[in-house]
């Protein structure tokens, strides 16, 4: 605090010195008669020595961009500084139509409360419908990573959609299971090898029709299942439960069942 005051005093002194120096100079406009000076206002304003003004390079206001496709001129003139969307005459600024609409990668992923790591799920759609399967974790896109285990019901490490699973109340303690970090959505994503170079004959003949098993998949499957199977064997009858499939029969009403 004291230091600050000292600094202010120093500044004041400096300003005072400068002012004193300036005052010594006085007015540059000699007086002809009282109230009338030698030079006019504009003459006083203009500097004695001419200073060359630098022409500032202005940022371009418009850009010419090329546009693809036929018969549309080939180029477009795009304004870089657009007119304002909002003029304060309106009471509430109008929101853009795309306000609040996020791209898929930024969506909020939800997980049902009944589903937690280690829950036994019943798959309802897909080629493994009706099979009971162990839930491992939720992936980045919101899909559920799930495994049979393969040895019990031939369901490999796979993605399942939350909406198409029934979550049972049966849970396996998975806290000790380490899932390899390479298992992400890109790992499971279907690969497209369609290159429509020739559109004459082979339109529907895509290269990858059948799914090819890779060694990495086998290795990952083994890594996860070897950890899971002993945990499953600990619970009596759970192995047989996972091997069996779910089905409805007479007198069984899903809305009345407790899963």
């Amino acid at each position: 605090m004291a230091e600050g005051d000292k600094k202010k005093e120093g500044d004041k002194k400096k300003e005072g010195d400068q002012k004193k120096k300036a005052r010594k100079h006085g007015s540059r406009n000699p007086v002809l008669v009282r109230g009338i000076g030698r030079y006019s206002r504009s003459a006083m304003y203009a500097p004695v020595t001419k200073v060359e003004k630098k022409i500032k390079e202005r940022a371009p206001a418009k850009v010419v961009k090329t546009v693809g496709g036929d018969k549309n001129g080939g180029t477009r003139v795009v304004k870089l500084r657009k007119l304002p969307r909002y003029y304060p005459t309106e009471d509430v600024p109008r929101k853009l139509r795309s306000h609040g609409i996020k791209p898929f990668s930024q969506h909020r992923r939800k997980l049902r409360k009944s589903i937690s790591p280690g829950t036994v799920l019943i798959l309802l759609t897909g080629r493994h419908r009706g099979k009971r399967v162990v839930f491992l974790k939720q992936l980045g896109t919101g899909l559920l990573l799930v495994t049979g285990p393969l040895a019990l019901n031939r369901v490999p490490l796979r993605r399942a959609h939350q909406k198409f699973c029934i979550a049972t109340t049966t849970k396996v303690d998975i806290s000790s299971v380490k899932i390899p970090k390479t298992l992400t959505d890109t790992y499971f994503k279907k690969k497209k090898l369609r290159r429509p170079k020739h559109q004459e004959g082979e339109i529907f003949d895509t290269e990858k029709e059948k799914y090819q098993l890779t060694e990495q998949r086998k290795a990952d499957q083994k890594a996860v299942d070897s950890q899971l199977l002993p945990l499953i064997k600990k619970v009596p009858q759970l192995k047989g439960y996972l091997r069996s499939t779910f089905c409805l029969s007479n007198g069984v009403y899903p809305h009345k069942l407790v899963f």
């Binding site: 036994v120 049972t168 009858q237 047989g240 439960y241 407790v258």
Partner: protein, 155 residues
């Protein structure tokens, strides 16, 4: 000789009765629906054709009027004078050990079984299926043995 109180002479002959349980003072009833669903009460008095004064001190039902429609009569009767105070209803109830008898009855056991079945999880249902299968296998095995023995005896 007529055994019932409310003059149901028409229905009851000495040998066979169509109705065996009657609404009487002290009759223990099971409440079938309503806020006190599933509890036992004693009929303490009859108000009119449709309602009874009912009390369940040992089952958590306050003394109140209750329509007959929601009451289902049980086999138990406690000895209580009409409009008896709750204290005496409780005394008679505990003396007759109604709660214990009720728990042992097959009616109560069936209700319990239904409840258990309703709250079975998918895994439980699987275990039940396996147990039933094993049981039936054993039974069939023994049956086949007996049948075989019987057929051999004939031959």
């Amino acid at each position: 000789m007529c055994l019932c109180i409310f003059g149901f002479d028409l229905f009851c002959s000495i040998i066979n009765c169509v109705f065996k349980r009657f609404v009487e003072i002290g009759r223990v009833a099971f409440i079938a629906f309503g806020p006190h669903e599933g509890k036992l009460v004693a009929i303490v008095d009859v108000i009119d054709q449709n309602r009874a004064l009912v009390d369940g001190p040992c089952t958590g039902v306050k003394r109140q009027a209750m329509p007959f429609k929601c009451l289902q009569l049980t086999d138990y009767v406690i000895k209580v004078p009409h409009s008896a105070r709750q204290k005496y209803v409780r005394r008679a109830w505990e003396k007759a050990e109604i709660n214990k008898k009720w728990e042992e009855s097959s009616w109560a056991k069936k209700i319990e079984a239904r409840k258990k079945r309703a709250t079975m999880s998918d895994f439980d249902r699987y275990k039940v299926m396996k147990a039933k299968k094993m049981r039936n296998k054993i039974i069939k095995h023994e049956l086949k043995k007996l049948q075989k023995a019987a057929s051999q005896k004939k031959a």
